[in-house]
Symmetry: C2
Subunit: 429 residues, 2 copies
Amino acid sequence: MANRIKYLQERRTRLLGPNVPVFYKEPVHLVKGEGVWLWDADGRRYLDCYNNVPHVGHCNPRVVEAITRQASTLNTHTRYLHEGVLDYIERLTSTMHSGLTTAIMTCTGSEANDIALRMAEAVTGKRGIIATDATYHGNTALVSQLSRSNVPASGFGLEDYFQHVVAPDSYRAIDADGTLFASAVSEKIAELEKSPHGFAALIVCPFFLNEGFPMQTPGWLKPAAEVVRKAGGLLICDEVQSGFGRIGSHFWAYEKQQVSPDIVVLGKPMANGHPVGAVVSSIEAMTAFRNGFRYFNTFGGNPVSCAAAMAVLDELDEHNLMAHAQTVGQYALERLKELQQKYECVGDVRGSGLVFGAELVSDQTTKRPASEHTDTVVNSMRDKGILLSKLGRHKNTLKIRPPMPFSLENAKLLFDTLDEVLAETIGIC
Amino acid sequence: MANRIKYLQERRTRLLGPNVPVFYKEPVHLVKGEGVWLWDADGRRYLDCYNNVPHVGHCNPRVVEAITRQASTLNTHTRYLHEGVLDYIERLTSTMHSGLTTAIMTCTGSEANDIALRMAEAVTGKRGIIATDATYHGNTALVSQLSRSNVPASGFGLEDYFQHVVAPDSYRAIDADGTLFASAVSEKIAELEKSPHGFAALIVCPFFLNEGFPMQTPGWLKPAAEVVRKAGGLLICDEVQSGFGRIGSHFWAYEKQQVSPDIVVLGKPMANGHPVGAVVSSIEAMTAFRNGFRYFNTFGGNPVSCAAAMAVLDELDEHNLMAHAQTVGQYALERLKELQQKYECVGDVRGSGLVFGAELVSDQTTKRPASEHTDTVVNSMRDKGILLSKLGRHKNTLKIRPPMPFSLENAKLLFDTLDEVLAETIGIC
């Protein structure tokens, strides 16, 4: 096995180039997936606690069937008439607040965010964009500038338009009602308004997932949204990770934040891994963008993509997966709290629905991030057949974000194993 | 039927927004495809002479089977090890010149071009890009600036980096050996080198397909490529439309041009409609890009996309579709020449393999573009069950670019019908 892994890694370096990371010290060579399970080439089974793209489960039969049926029937672009794209957008927007009625379907969340930023420019006539300093919104030349952790060395000078506010952190920097965040946004707006760029939009994941999903009271984002609106800017909610019921309490995380975004961006889980994204907006914002640009996406909104995306909504509905996420998420938080009481290194536990995790620290008093320990835990979990990862500014937060059918029994196995691994690695704390 | 079309168009305007064009005065409501045939909701059959995305035929069984098999087995990202992406890139690059050994797989040609331009910046440290003034390379904020015909009103100031040379036109502006084009490129390089941007790359479709696919002798692009190389810039060949054997004589159009591009961009036909694109480069260019940016594409290179793309290569090989394109393309040119002799309005006939067309003019002496007549022909052909379109600077060139299995018999039907339509619309000439 070690030889095969080495051989595959050599091929990767030769064919993909350098700086293409794989997960884990000992990478996993996957060959099969089903529901919440993945298998490697040696037949070993792993519980998938990481992947949010296979939203309704790996190789979900309904999605596979929808793709097969439509790919065997017709797959073409949107310059012919077809019900698929219309039925899907109608159903999708019916889950959102009443202002969001139109959409452009794309192939990725990156493409969708790239449109969203230009839409903000089209509406406001401004170019200044604000994001948090610990986020990720995609990989195009424009959109990759939103990240501070992986700043492209080449980017056609686009960095000039972006301002970053300190990401919320409910563990180390209390901001109970979001007013401090709103003040920080307000300051950056003022800076942008003094510059030639002006202020166009604030873009956030309304669950701040990459930032480490801070615990926030409902409506926490409202003060920032008000500041944005007052300045004539747009609020873009990137629901690529937080949407489609994942947080359990709401279908969209912006609902819990009690804000009405001007633009919502979708991607990853939308079609269970089939490459689909979307940008949803008011007809006014869409008109401003489209009147200035006859945007066309060859694959976007094709009948196969729409059939796959529709099957995901059907599956979420039929199996009440949002309510299920809420139930399993509550159990997960209880288990995390138990671990927090048992281990000094479990500094903070957070989550909502099927996205949760724990921040590992040297001790609960100093809260010093235990990044190395976190890395050890992630790799030990992998060795015990549980796939998860880490994230956040200090890379010390366990990132657990399984497919939505993840059961109480699966969660029990996850936490029993995590308990074992924490006990074994306690010396590192 | 008219009522249903009207209803669908109303839904489109409501759900997709304004300025989302459909083909034809009477749009086609498609429900089914197979090989080179498409069917509308009334059961009427159309010969597809337009769509290059379903490269090996609509609903190709091998591709559908590959997608179904892999979507039922495993679909995940490239941070785990999987042979699919490695096997595909190895096979793909084996069809290209020896310098092109590495690739990034994306979901669209737009994403791939967006990387290619940044790769040029990473290699050269410059940002000035040259393209023709009648091209299209995609829809991201960066890449959409390459077009002059559909310039986005909102684009974060990126237009500053782009210079456009007059597109080649073998009918109206003779440039037999490409030296005039090379001079034009050279002038723009000098302009860019005087600017703070410098010169990074020339990007062209090596068949100049959107430009109206001028007839060019083999090696026509060599003088321009030499000018680019001498200036320290990169040559990017966008083979999204011209590649994968379409031109009949060569698998890649850059081969006919006798140039060695630094970067090749792929998209549309690559996986027969499954959203897949790629940027292929030398290991040096890839390293320059990747060392400056840990690019990751969630869906790019997933096992299903690679299986679909591999099935396309298998299908091309097994049915010798490139040689087939050559044969049918030769017959097409003969038929086009007959029409040119018969009708004064057929001003110029061009093509290679399965991309060909005719430029319609008021008369063969003045060569005045007959854009309105072309529009009438395209719509009359649609009414007779033949789908094609038009392109080029004057929108007077018939754009015929069918799926690769398009047969001699299909071509006969196409030209018999075109003969009829030209006879019927002769008064408009």
